[in-house]
C-alpha cells in the first residue's frame, strides 16, 4: 500500500540530497572535528560550510548559530539562558498554545516560583497583542512565543512582539521550529534575540537543531563541558546531522517558493474540497496568517483517533487533537485555548503537507475521507440527534 504522508509538522522525510550529503560522515569522514590531525580537522571545515548555509537561510552571522540536539534543547537553552542572564527578574511571558518544549518548561518554572504569564488566543487562534503589550513589565526576564503554531499553522506576529519587548529592554525568544523552511525568515530585518529550529521538520534527520543567538545577547550555556560551539554548547558535534541540516537549509532556500505556491495550492484544494464534501466541518485557526502547508479541520460529533485509524487503512498519515490520541484524557491544549467546543475538538484532524506531496495524495484524501466521516457519524449517538435538531430548527 502506498503511504500518503500528510503529517509533516510531526516530522519529515529526509531529502535524498541530504542523505547523500551526510552519509560520508558516518563511515568515511568520521573524525572528531576537535582533533589536531588533518583527518579530524577536515570535518571541522564541513561543519563551517553547514553553518554558512544555515546562517544564509536565516540571514544570520556565523557566530549566531549554535548547534544543538533538537528543538526542545534549543527552547530550553534559550529560556534558561534568558533567566540566568537577567538575575533578579522573576517574570516569563509565553502563550497558552506553545509546544510542550516551552509549555512544560514554563510550568515547571512556575512551580519554582517564577511568575508566568500565559497569553490567551482568540477563537481563530490569534494572539491578543494588546494583552501582550500590557503584560510586559520591568520584572520580565524573557518572552518566548512561537513563530507558527504546530497544530493550526497560525503565524504569530513575533517580529512586532520582539520590537515591543525591546522597547522595554526585554529579551525575546521564538520557537520557530514550524516556521523555518516554510516561510521566509530574515534575522537582519527583525530584533528577535533568540530563535529555535529543528532539523527533522525541514527534511534533515532527527537529532539536530539550532539555537540562533543574536550577537551581543548575554548567553549562558545549558550543556556545559567541552569547548564546542565556542563554549556555548558542550558535547561532541553531531557531524552527520549538522552537515545534513546545512544541506536541508540550502534546499529550503530553493524550495521556499514551491512551498508557497505548489504546497499552498495542494493544501487549499484539500481544505476546500473537504469542507465542501463534509457537512458540519470547520477549519481551526485563521486563514489570514497561516503556514502554507497546514490545515486543521474539525468534523463534528465524531472522535479523532477513529478517523486516523480508518484513514490508516488507506495509508493516509495525519494527526489529531483528540484526547485519545494525546494519551491524556483532554483534547489538545491549543484547541481548548481557542475555545473550540468539545463536539468539534475531539474530531479534529491536522493535515500537514510538504514539497514531496502530489496532487494524487490530496485526491486520495478527498476521495477516502468523506465516507470515513459518514461511517463514524452513522455510528455516533449524537449525529442523528443533531440532524433531527437541525431539521426542526
Amino acid at each position: 500500500m502506498r503511504t500518503i504522508y500528510l503529517d509533516n509538522n510531526a516530522t519529515t522525510m529526509v531529502a535524498q540530497e541530504v542523505v547523500e550529503e551526510m552519509l560520508p560522515f558516518l563511515h568515511e569522514y568520521y573524525g572528531n572535528p576537535s582533533s589536531m590531525h588533518t583527518f579530524g580537522g577536515q570535518v571541522a571545515h564541513s561543519i563551517l560550510k553547514a553553518r554558512q548555509k544555515i546562517a544564509s537561510l536565516l540571514g544570520a552571522d556565523l557566530d549566531e548559530i549554535i548547534f544543538t540536539s533538537c528543538g526542545t534543547e534549543s527552547d530550553n537553552t534559550a529560556i534558561m539562558s534568558g533567566l540566568s542572564s537577567n538575575p533578579g527578574k522573576n517574570h516569563i511571558i509565553t502563550s497558552r498554545v506553545e509546544h510542550p518544549a516551552v509549555k512544560v518548561l514554563c510550568e515547571n518554572l512556575a512551580h519554582k516560583g517564577y511568575r508566568v504569564t500565559l497569553l490567551p488566543v482568540d477563537s481563530e487562534g490569534r494572539l491578543d497583542m494588546a494583552e501582550y503589550e500590557a503584560s510586559l513589565t520591568p520584572d520580565t526576564a524573557v518572552v518566548s512565543i512561537m513563530w507558527a503554531n504546530n497544530e493550526t499553522g497560525v503565524i504569530f506576529p513575533v517580529e512586532e512582539a520582539a520590537r515591543l519587548a525591546h522597547e522595554k529592554g526585554i529579551l525575546f525568544h521564538t520557537d520557530a521550529v514550524q516556521a523555518i523552511g516554510k516561510i521566509p525568515v530574515n534575522m537582519k530585518e527583525n530584533s528577535i534575540d533568540m530563535l529555535s529550529l529543528s532539523g527533522h521538520k525541514l527534511h534533515a534527520p532527527k537529532g539536530v537543531g539550532v539555537l540562533y543567538v543574536r550577537k551581543g545577547t548575554r548567553f549562558s550555556p545549558f550543556l556545559t563541558g567541552g569547548h564546542q560551539e565556542k563554549g556555548r554548547r558542550g558535547g561532541t558535534e553531531n557531524v552527520p546531522g549538522i552537515v545534513a541540516l546545512g544541506k536541508a537549509c540550502e534546499l529550503a532556500a530553493v524550495n521556499m517558493e514551491k512551498e508557497n505556491t505548489h504546497v499552498r495550492a495542494l493544501r487549499d484544494r484539500l481544505e476546500n474540497e473537504l469542507l465542501k464534501a463534509i457537512p458540519q466541518s470547520k477549519v481551526n485557526g485563521t486563514r489570514e496568517a497561516r503556514l502554507p502547508n497546514t490545515v486543521n479541520i474539525s468534523f463534528e460529533f465524531i472522535e479523532g483517533e477513529s478517523i486516523l485509524l480508518l484513514m490508516d487503512q488507506f495509508g493516509i498519515c495525519a494527526s489529531s487533537g483528540s484526547a485519545c490520541t494525546s494519551g491524556s484524557l483532554q483534547p489538545s491544549h491549543v484547541l481548548r485555548a481557542m475555545g473550540v467546543p468539545y463536539t468539534m475538538a475531539h474530531g479534529s484532524i491536522r493535515f500537514s503537507l510538504s514539497v514531496y506531496n502530489t496532487a494524487e495524495d490530496v485526491d486520495a484524501v478527498i476521495k477516502e475521507l468523506p465516507p470515513i466521516i459518514e461511517k463514524l457519524r452513522v455510528l455516533s449517538p449524537y449525529w442523528a440527534t443533531s440532524q433531527g435538531a437541525c431539521a426542526t430548527a
Binding site: 510550568e107 512556575a110 512551580h111 516560583g113 460529533f301 465524531i302 472522535e303 479523532g304 483517533e305 477513529s306 485509524l309 480508518l310 487503512q313 483528540s322 484526547a323 485519545c324 490520541t325 494519551g327 491524556s328 484524557l329 483532554q330 483534547p331 468539545y342 463536539t343 475531539h346 452513522v378 455510528l379 455516533s380 449517538p381 449524537y382
Partner: protein, 278 residues
Amino acid sequence: MWEYTDKVKEHFLNPKNTGEIENPDAVAEVGSIACGDALKLTMKLDENKKIVDAKFKTFGCASAIASASALTEILKGKTIEEAEKITNQDIADYLGGLPPEKMHCSVLGQEALEKAIENYRGVSHKKPEEVIVCACFGVTGGEIERAIRQNHLTSIEEVTNYTKAGGGCGNCHEKIQEIIDRVYETRERQEKPIERPKLSNLQKIRMIEETIENEIRPSLKHDGGDIELVDVVGNRVLVAMRGACATCQASQATMKGFVQAKLQEFVAPELLVEEVAS
C-alpha cells in the same frame, strides 16, 4: 500509536450490531461528548428474559467502538440474570485485552449494560447518595470504588485508566486516594498496629520535613502546586502554599484533608496544619 489486539482492530473496522433497535425493551445512554466517549445501548428481550438482540451507537475512539461491539456480541443469547454478571474485564478479555489507558472503554460498556438492565426492570438509575468525585468527567465515588474492587486498582493512575476520574484538572486526586485507602484500609489495619515513640522537637521537625518531601510534595507537584514549611510551634505546623496551590480554590481542602492527614499519619496524630501568608 496504541498497541491494539487483532480482535480490537477487527471489531473497530467491522463493528457488529451497530445502530438502534426500534421499540427496544431496554435502553441506556452513558458518557458524554465532553468526556470524549459515549455509548447508547438498546436491547430486545423475549418472554423468557433472554436477550435476542442488542445494538449500539458509539462516539469515541477505536477501543470504545470495539468494546461496545464486543459487549453486544457477548450479550446476545444471554438471559438478563446472566447479563447482570458481565464485568468490564469480560469485555476486555473478549477483545484479547485493552491497553491500560483504554480500560475505561470497557468500563463504559459495563455501565451501559447496568443502566440498560435497570431500565428494563423499571428501576431508577439515580442514586441520590452518590456524590460526584471527579467533576471533569462526572465520575461518582461509587463508580470509582467498584472499579477499584473489581479490578484490584491500587493507584490514582490506574483509577484514571479505568474510570477517567482524575484525568482532568487533578483536583480530585486526594479524594480518589482516600477511596483507595478506604477500600484497602481494613486489610492494612490488621497487618500493622502503629506504635509511636515520643518525639523531641528536633525529631518532630525533621520528620515533618521528610513527610512533606516524600509524601506530600510529589502529589502537589503533580497538580502544579507546592508547599513550604514555614515554622513549627508546638503541634501547629505553619505552611505556605506555592504554585497552583496558592491560587487553587480547593487548597483549603488540600490543607486539611491531605497535608494534615499525611502529617498526622507519618509524624504525630496531634498535629494541626495552618496556612500562613509568606
